[in-house]
């Protein structure tokens, strides 16, 4: 593990292509990190994927970081890799916490982003605009306590143990199925009438 301190050659190329949309860059532990503006993040990532000489065709990971300093923006982190060039690059998009947490989805570029973005949505509440199927993945769909990896989320959760148990026991049967499954059953007339009535009243989830 030799400490490489040089900047990835993609950075000057990005600056030449996108100018001010590349906010800043830095090197940490040998990894180059580039900050792209929220408005043009999809263009930047798409260009990195397809431009000759960049070819970041492999999306290693999508995640997010929230800092302990509550003033600091939340960051969406894309770990990119170019398999033909054997090069890595980390692209970050800063999201101001005063505004809505939204960023363009990259599922149209990399299918692998599908579940990774769902997880970031599930854990941080970041909405990936244009994601085909953005719903919770590790927590259940009717989970009501918020976003677990946010810093304002206590380690043991917002609800007491008693409340969590009460909610689990009071759940309607349809709370255990995803809307996708319910929609399939519905279109084939397989939903029991009482369940359909509850759904019509908007009562999916927990009994009050």
């Amino acid at each position: 593990m030799t400490a490489v301190t040089s900047v990835s050659p993609s950075v000057p190329a990005l600056r030449a292509e996108f100018g001010p949309a590349i906010e800043r860059h830095l090197v940490s532990c040998g990894d180059t990190i580039v900050y792209a503006s929220k408005a043009r993040s999809h263009d930047v990532l798409g260009w990195l994927k397809d431009a000759p000489g960049q070819q970041y065709d492999y999306l290693t990971d999508v995640t997010a970081v929230e800092y302990r300093d509550s003033e600091r923006p939340l960051e969406v982190v894309y770990q990119l890799r170019s398999l033909p060039r054997r090069a890595d690059l980390r692209v970050k998009v800063a999201l101001d916490k005063q505004e809505t947490l939204e960023v363009r989805s990259v599922v149209d570029l990399w299918r692998g982003a599908d579940w990774l973005e769902r997880e970031a949505y599930d854990m941080f509440g970041i909405v990936f605009l244009g994601h085909p199927d953005l719903r919770r993945i590790l927590m259940w769909e009717t989970y009501a306590e918020g976003y677990p990896l946010r810093k304002d989320f206590p380690l043991r959760g917002h609800f007491s143990r008693a409340e969590q148990t009460r909610q689990a026991l009071a759940a309607n049967p349809e709370a255990h199925y995803s809307l996708e499954e319910l929609s399939i059953a519905d279109s084939f007339d397989e939903l029991p009438p009482d369940m359909r009535e509850r759904l019509a009243r908007g009562e999916r989830g927990f009994l009050k």
Binding site: D114, L138, L199
Partner: protein
């Protein structure tokens, strides 16, 4: 009638004004309910597999939309084993995170430990000792063998072959005995520490491992005889669950799943760590991207892991008595005997136990080639003893995300085979 499903239809969470789920389901526009043509006796139904089902390899739940025996759509449901490890990690010192990694991919705990230690060492810019590197390579390759053996045995069972399961679990038991000898635990090994190891190998370990590497190929040969040219095995696995190289790359697959599709990427070769570039081993690459190629690759990887183990044992003989830990009291605990007798050592001991290892502010991503694929640990530090963010890049989770794609148009029985071929561990998928 086409057996292929249409494009994965898109779910929109929410209900319409009448309270019906919004998404238009597959097939809804094609035939009214109950008026299906029955070329294949195509009865429409939803099949629920899991979460408690042996063929889902843990608490995975698959909801399959079937038409007759053809899968139109597969919807995986995860999270039954979600433990919030990443959140827990933010409340722990770096060395205290190591026990959490045992419990993610619990079929290769030692390799996870190594990955975590390497990530923190990258964050701190530490260079570990040579003997420690060799021992960590041994830990990684032992893990690779036991993980692949579990995969082989359980996949065989899923497809109706019982005997290789017994053979592979017998071999696995021998590694587990060695693992227990070294770490005192069979599953929760917590082998590494930042800057070194929890313990050096005990007496008799080298001889035991040497004996294992000598006799293990016999089992591999038996499995090879039993499976590789077996008509049933070939019939069930060839051409099933195919992913092209482009798809595999685009789905971010890694490890044997990626290489079976013909993409030549192995972290050990392409971003070497622990001195892997100095070992002589081959990386098998598939060409068809089906279950059979994944089997061939995992089998070959066990051969190669055995080769690496032999070379590592040779090196270990030349490093007898060399230190396993860094000589740095900021990261390594002084020996207990010194901590009890020497004032300075006691202070270091106290500071480390109470305050923990403190990496400088910064961030690091470290990927290692785990048996399941690329396991990445991403740390963000603000200079305190607890990470701001600890992210696991889970290879099983990402490999599993290609399951709906592979199951489209497959038969129900193939779903079991395809799911087995991904080689998932739910502890890691759900974390």
């Amino acid at each position: 009638m086409s057996l292929r499903t249409v494009e994965m239809a898109l779910a929109t969470p929410g209900l319409d004004r009448e309270g019906r789920p919004i998404r238009v389901p597959v097939g809804a526009g094609r035939a009214a309910p109950g008026t299906y043509d029955d070329d294949f006796g195509a009865e429409h139904m939803l099949v629920n597999i899991g979460p408690q089902h042996p063929a889902t390899h843990g608490v995975l739940r698959l909801v399959l939309e079937m038409e007759g025996e053809t899968v139109k759509r597969c919807i995986p449901h995860l999270g039954y084993l979600h433990s919030g490890f990443e959140k827990l990690g933010e409340y722990r010192h770096y060395n205290q995170i190591i026990p959490l990694t045992d419990r993610t991919d619990y079929l290769s705990p030692m390799a996870n430990n190594v990955g975590l230690a390497l990530a923190v060492e990258k964050l701190m810019g530490l260079q570990i000792t040579e003997r420690c590197q060799v021992l960590r390579v041994i830990a990684c390759e032992m893990s690779r063998i036991i993980s692949h053996l579990v995969w082989l045995g359980t996949t065989g069972i899923d497809l109706g072959a019982f005997t290789p399961f017994l053979w592979s679990f017998q071999e696995r038991e021998r590694i587990y005995n060695l693992q227990e000898m070294w770490t005192g635990a069979r599953l929760t090994t917590s082998l590494t520490r930042v800057g070194g190891l929890m313990a050096d190998i005990p007496q008799g370990f080298e001889a035991g491992l040497r004996e294992f590497t000598r006799t293990f190929p016999d089992t591999l040969r038996e499995v090879d005889t039993m499976f590789t040219r077996n008509a049933i095995w070939i019939g069930r696995t060839q051409g099933v669950g195919v992913l092209s190289a482009e798809e595999a790359t685009n789905h971010s697959l890694s490890g044997p799943m990626l290489r079976a599709s013909g993409v030549d990427y192995d972290v050990r070769k392409d971003r070497p760590y622990l001195g892997y570039e100095t070992y002589d081993f081959d990386v098998p690459i598939g060409e068809h991207g089906d279950i059979y190629d994944r089997y061939r690759i995992r089998l070959e990887e066990m051969w190669q892991a055995n080769r690496i183990l032999e070379q590592a044992l040779d090196r270990l003989a030349g490093l007898a008595g060399a230190p396993i830990n860094l000589d740095d009291p900021r990261v390594i605990l002084p020996p207990k005997s010194r901590a009890m007798s020497d004032m300075e050592a006691m202070i270091f001991h106290f500071k480390q136990v109470m305050e923990g290892v403190k990496p400088p502010a910064g961030e690091a991503y470290m990927g290692i080639e785990n048996p399941k694929g690329e396991l990445g640990y991403y740390f963000v530090s603000d200079g305190t003893a607890k990470p701001v963010r600890w992210r696991i890049r889970p290879p099983s989770f990402i490999n599993l995300s290609s399951l709906p794609r592979m199951c489209e148009g497959a038969l129900l029985a193939d779903v079991i085979a395809i799911n087995a071929s991904v080689d998932i561990v739910m502890g890691e998928v759900d974390r």
